[in-house]
């Protein structure tokens, strides 16, 4: 683990005058799955925005593959192999399934390859290729957003609240796919409110609260009592 693929050094970030991250340090090794946990308002989504390039940190450094990329545009990071599935549904609701996949071709992959891999992994999407993505069920929408990660072979995958508003069964199915992506050697940073759901998949876990890292360690070592304390107060 001498050469982390993604590193945050003392990152501070704010929306206008509201500072949300007060100096966060985090490091992810190659091929590692790190779960970012924490209650609402802890700053998890903000961290994803900073890493993906959508939000410029007010101070600190973002290092990808040993290279300082603080302030790089999100589109440039995406083309360089950073795949982000943002909070909510990472799809374009008014584009068809196929057009959504066409947007994934900015990664440099051919549409036919992306379609083939997507439909073999999620046969249900192949039946809906001309349907508007926004009219599909929540689970199908989330499959479509994961398809981009599956088909474009990224270096790093950032997942933000994959499970939001979905039934537990579908969530479990989606996380099987995440495990499959990780097994191919992709480094994953996954934000989850639902700690129990994600700890089975993750190698490391980081607990964020009040814009700071409170606890970090092996995923298996984070106890329920710590989590319950962080989420509901003790």
């Amino acid at each position: 683990m001498t050469n982390p693929i993604l590193e945050l050094r003392n990152i501070r970030a704010s929306y206008g005058s509201i500072e949300v991250l007060h100096g966060v340090n985090l490091s992810i090794g190659r091929g590692e799955v790190v779960a970012l946990l924490g209650p609402n308002g802890a700053g998890k989504s903000t961290m994803i925005k900073v890493v993906s390039g959508l939000l410029r940190p007010t101070s600190g450094q973002l290092i990808v593959g040993g290279r300082d990329v603080t302030g790089a545009a999100a589109s440039a990071l995406a083309r360089a192999g950073l795949c982000t599935i943002p909070e909510g549904r990472g799809i374009f609701p008014n584009l068809t399934v196929r057009e959504n996949l066409l947007m994934a071709t900015f990664s440099g992959h051919k549409l036919s390859d992306i379609e083939e891999r997507t439909y073999s992994r999620f046969p249900r999407l192949s039946e809906r290729r001309t349907q508007l993505a926004g009219t599909m069920s929540g689970g199908e929408q989330q499959m479509l957003s994961l398809a981009r990660a599956l088909a474009t072979n990224p270096v790093i995958l950032l997942l933000d609240e994959l499970s939001m508003g979905l039934a537990p069964l579908i969530v479990a199915e989606l996380y099987q796919q995440v495990a499959a992506i990780a097994a191919e050697g992709v480094s994953v940073l996954v934000v989850e409110q639902f700690a129990r759901t994600v700890l089975g998949v993750a190698d490391q876990a980081v607990l964020l609260a009040h814009g700071k890292v409170q606890v970090s360690g092996k995923a298996s070592e984070i106890g329920e009592d710590v989590l319950a304390g962080a989420y509901l107060g003790s």
């Binding site: 609402n40 802890a42 499970s163 537990p168 989420y231 509901l232 107060g233």
Partner: protein, 236 residues
Amino acid sequence: MSLLEVRGVMVRFGGVMAVGGVDLDVQAGEVTGLIGPNGAGKTTLFNVISGMQEPTAGSVHVSGVEVTHEAPHRRARRGLARTFQRLELFSSLTVRDNVRVAAELAALTNVDETVDNLLEKVGVSELAEQTAGDLPTGSARLVEIARALATGPRLLLLDEPASGLDEAESDRLGVLLRELTADGLGVLLVEHDMSLVMHVCDRIFVLDLGFIIANGTPSEIQHDPKVLHAYLGAPS
């Protein structure tokens, strides 16, 4: 009769159910907490209560009077005031003028005195002449509370008042809330700072995926397995 009665409120955005049929009560002289995971529908519910969002179904009563279809400014005159999760100060006015606008809208006779007292009460007197847009978050949140109080409300809706506050400020906020309820004000509090919620609330409602899944005293909520489940999710 409760100060605020929310009955069967439902909000749909297109095919998405944001709030799925919520019953909720706030009593005068109490702090009522409303908590839940992200996307549970808390802010939408706040918007319904304050009149910024028309509900698909259900009703809202304030002191026994139905206000479901009233405009926000009419509800304000019935004694309803709110703050906003993302600050909504009048950023080009001074702190004093922010509070003064509210006091004038309430048609108070002794505007200046009221404004001074409120600034004193929330502890921002020394910032009175600053432009509101230049304030740090913590002070700005307190000014928003002072502004809401200047309308002389009976019911105060607070949307994440402690976010951006440091620990000392958040403790002070807790004390302030207790003082206010001691004067008979009813408070509905959405907050992520659980230690504040657990300390200050008399009763807590837990919203998950648009439904109230539990309500009770802080200690009941802390030990409710359903609540823990909603926050931590099912094991995969």
